[in-house]
Symmetry: C2
């Protein structure tokens, strides 16, 4: 996310200006020159976007994997960290130093574009392009996911309407509709009003498409058959006697998979420096796992020597899920984890208010370092080497930088300063060299945090205590009963997916730094039977955003040449 990045330098060009000045090459040329693909391997969407065909991916599935680099971050603050820009910049830097590298990032959601100004395709001189397309409909993946989600919803109500032979309890339909729009009015609705011809009235609601379980499934499926299988396992409701009802019982997964078939091929675009980038899938990082698609990442590993990808939020949520869900399920693992930090964000973790960030404050850097240190330790517990990459801002002082490097040295972690936002790939060449060196050492011995067969409650405790630094986990009886029920139903071997605030290791968003001794209260347990994880809800989770008082949409227009203005 580029929000806030514009503050890095005095009078910079805006992200959209930079992207519009990009010297884009036809994507067919990028694919051919950088990846050796022929135009037959591509499904073009315009001249600068293409899907790489699933048929082609089938032909390369036995090739050895390249090196995988995960970019994650310290606990996010309003000061911004620049995780996506680092991912893009590091990818460009690896190419700059002569490596064959690709990046894999998430597709942005359409809805938020009309809320707060700002896109999600990197920023500064570390962007993927064409930026406008990527932020608007792109290749239609999210519309397809929404359609699949809503076909299932329509089939549930249609089943009830025509006699309800499965005995679905209309009070216990958990499947919600989806739309890629920020629309708070749709959070809680009553449907099927207006008489018998419209069905049985019931409470319902819409989530934004990125929060749909279909999105999570789409991003974890390994191929079309696996996609269809997972869709069938979705639990959508309960019967009157509380037996789960699945999408398969409604005969929905085939049609849903048909709607998703074309979308499942990964989207190829390019960076500002004409390097290949997959932008594919984008699940929420709270109720889902927050990573781009398994298909894109695995494909990139076959197509490039180095693959740089990112995980959502801070490392406690995003990287934990990347490692314990995506890597576990996809059989991949990173050779190096890059943790992104900024001096300004560290100062906020050290207790400095946002308005005071410009003043030098070495002590605050030292105090805030606790946050970075905990993330480093966490990542090391997975057996993977760690590198810290510091996104440079013009206001950062020499003293602060020196202090941070000293602190990193004290815990034996390399710390590189990165200038990709201002200078693109060359600005991150040092980071790329360090990454290559670390990967070449081959020290990664990846292990998940917990085994599949650990009981669910123990998995929750493990993540809470080891990763969040919590002293305890609490849950009321209904939560414990639900956990037992899921284990009895055979879902105990699923990994967990914790939904909590991204702004703290704890469940209190104001607890900056590295709080310890706190308690994680589990409010609710949800099964994502198709995505194959157990969602552990530890806070208020918003699955349908609203628009702000003055939406960005108000200022978006087409000018006389048909160009979009005001989008970013």
């Amino acid at each position: 996310m580029s929000k806030g990045s514009n503050e890095q330098h005095v009078n910079p060009k805006s992200d959209i200006e930079i992207s519009q000045e990009a010297d884009m090459r036809p994507i067919v040329e990028v694919a051919e020159e950088k990846l050796g693909l022929s135009s037959d391997d591509l499904i073009p969407y315009g001249h600068y976007k293409a899907k790489v065909s699933l048929d082609y991916l089938e032909t390369i599935k036995d090739k050895p994997d390249g090196t995988l680099v995960l970019v994650t971050a310290i606990t996010p603050t309003p000061a911004g960290e620049g995780k996506t820009t680092t991912t893009v910049g590091l990818g460009d830097a690896l190419n700059h130093i002569g490596k064959k590298a690709m990046i894999c990032v998430r597709e942005p959601s359409l809805g938020p574009c009309f809320g707060m100004k700002g896109g999600a395709a990197g920023g500064g001189y570390a962007q993927v392009v064409p930026m406008e397309d990527i932020n608007l409909h792109f290749t239609g993946d999210f519309h397809a996911i929404g359609a699949a989600n809503n076909l299932l919803a329509a089939m549930i109500d249609n089943h009830i309407y025509w006699g309800n032979s499965l005995d679905i309890d209309s009070r216990r339909v958990s499947w919600r509709r989806g739309i890629d729009m920020n629309d708070r009015a749709l959070r809680n609705i009553v449907t099927s009003l207006g008489g018998a011809a419209n069905g049985f009235p019931r409470e319902a609601g819409f989530d934004i498409v990125v929060a749909s379980e279909v999105m999570a499934i789409f991003c974890l499926a390994t191929d079309l058959a696996d996609l269809q299988r997972r869709l069938g396992n979705i639990q959508v409701a309960q019967t009157r006697d509380k037996t789960p009802v699945t999408a398969k019982e409604l005969s929905a997964p085939g049609a849903m998979a048909a709607l998703l078939r074309d979308a499942l091929a990964p989207n190829l675009v390019q960076t500002l420096e004409n390097n290949p980038a997959f932008v594919h899938g984008g699940p929420f990082a709270n109720i889902a796992h927050g990573c781009n698609s398994v298909i894109a990442t695995k494909a990139a590993l076959k197509m490039a020597d180095y693959v740089v990808t990112e995980a959502g939020f801070g490392a406690d949520l995003g990287a934990e899920k990347f490692l314990d869900i995506k890597c576990r399920k996809a059989g991949i693992s990173p050779d190096c984890v890059v943790i992104v930090a900024t001096i300004r964000a560290l100062k906020m973790h050290g207790g400095v208010a946002k308005d005071d960030l410009k003043a030098e404050n070495v002590d605050a850097v030292e105090k805030g370092f606790a946050n970075l240190k905990k993330h480093v330790e966490n990542m090391r517990s997975y057996g993977v080497p760690v590198l810290v990459s510091v996104n440079r801002f013009s206001g950062d002082s020499e003293g602060e930088m020196t202090k941070l490097q000293e602190l990193c040295k004290s815990i034996d972690v390399e710390c590189e300063l990165s200038d990709h936002w201002a200078n693109g790939g060359p600005g991150a060449a040092n980071v790329a060299e360090a990454v290559v060196r670390i990967c070449d050492e081959g020290k990664a011995e990846f292990k998940t945090l917990y085994p599949d067969d650990m009981p669910l409650w123990d998995k929750i405790q493990k993540v809470a205590k080891d990763i969040y630094g919590a002293a305890d986990v609490t849950a009321d009886k209904s939560v414990m009963n639900r956990i037992k029920e899921l284990e009895d139903q055979g879902f105990g071997h699923f990994p967990i997916c914790v939904a909590k605030t991204q702004y703290s290791f704890s469940t209190n968003p104001d607890a900056k730094g590295a709080p310890t001794g706190h308690t994680i209260p589990v409010r609710e347990i949800r099964l994502s039977a198709g995505a194959e994880f157990i969602v552990v809800i530890c806070g208020d989770i918003m699955t349908m955003p609203g628009l702000p008082r003055v939406p960005a949409a108000n200022n978006i227009k087409l000018d006389e040449q048909g160009h979009i203005t005001g989008l970013f």
Copy 2:
């Protein structure tokens, strides 16, 4: 629509089998060889679909127009007429006899694909391909239209939420949300439940996307600027003192136009015989005008010597609106109107039950001819030459055919038998020759049925009496008041768009043939201020279909090769 066409011959291949065996050529080659376009003029969506760029269309806007042929039909019956197949077949036939011809048809809606089995891309050997793509997401146009529709909806509720400075009366929000899905549960809903954070609860609902005014606007806009202007004129609600509130007052049209920008370029595909076809836009033919986009039709007229296009439903609704709305607004007019009929449908209009259609019944053909005759007279009243094209079925008898040709001769209209369903373009060569002959005669002197400045009530009477054969039109006081109100507000110069049953000239769907002396009751008047027509509702109009007891979706699957089965 191909539904029913499979009954035409013994043991035919299914539409999907024929389409999957199609020898498709890359769309870039079709565009280059048949239309002289370079690949830069195209925006590819895969290898067999492309949009023709608006920039290219700008370069050809001063070229002279080709010849325009409208395909319409007698009043539809369950026996089927084959209007789309005739449009495709005639286009292929014109190419077959050496003319440079294109066709322009509507995009099918996604939702109905999961209800009744069957697509909407022609049938038999008169299809546009790739059929699966066209029937599923195609180039994403309908998703874009849905998103634009729903952004406006979100902005309405968001405006109310944040203080409602426009004083919108939440009971009088007429703008509905849209989704491309058959989902009866969404027809009538209550939104914004669940507390203050979710807004002010109100009654609302969803229409299928093809019923959205955004769809009608999309299909009538002449360029991006006109699109943005029309979107701004949409009336979405009333204030407490009943003043209309427009999309422009909500600052929505710019963002809506941005969402629609890429979609507005027309979609180029090919027929089974590799001839170019525009498939673009698809508004309802009851509450909207039921024709493909003005942009596609006007572009085709610049790119080809003959352009064959179709209008929805029978000629009383579809052709009337094509002529009085689309042609009036776009400044185009047909050189020839082809009215499609079948012996079987004429027999149904002559009183034969569906199960008895196989038996020869010359008298019923003669009796049912009244319907065809009225449509011929109607079309002639617009000053355009008419040709009757009879879609051949294997069960049609020589006696029935001869009778029909005699009857046509008696009213001095040429009648050609067409075999395009079984034989493609060559099967309709005689129709093509006749069309060319008629067009070459240059006898068309197109005039609209009524002038812009005729009062709205007189326009309604004119259409009802002249086109429908009605003796009278009735309306209660509220309808008459609404008409006066619209005229007072300056909308009296808009054409009217009548929404009534397509199954009869009257408002009684069981009144086959050519009923006269009936009364048309006007129930309601709606303003489509952006589409720039007045909707005159004369019956129950369904704007959100439901799924049947056993939806087609139940049988759709991906096979082991990832191919879709069960879609058609």
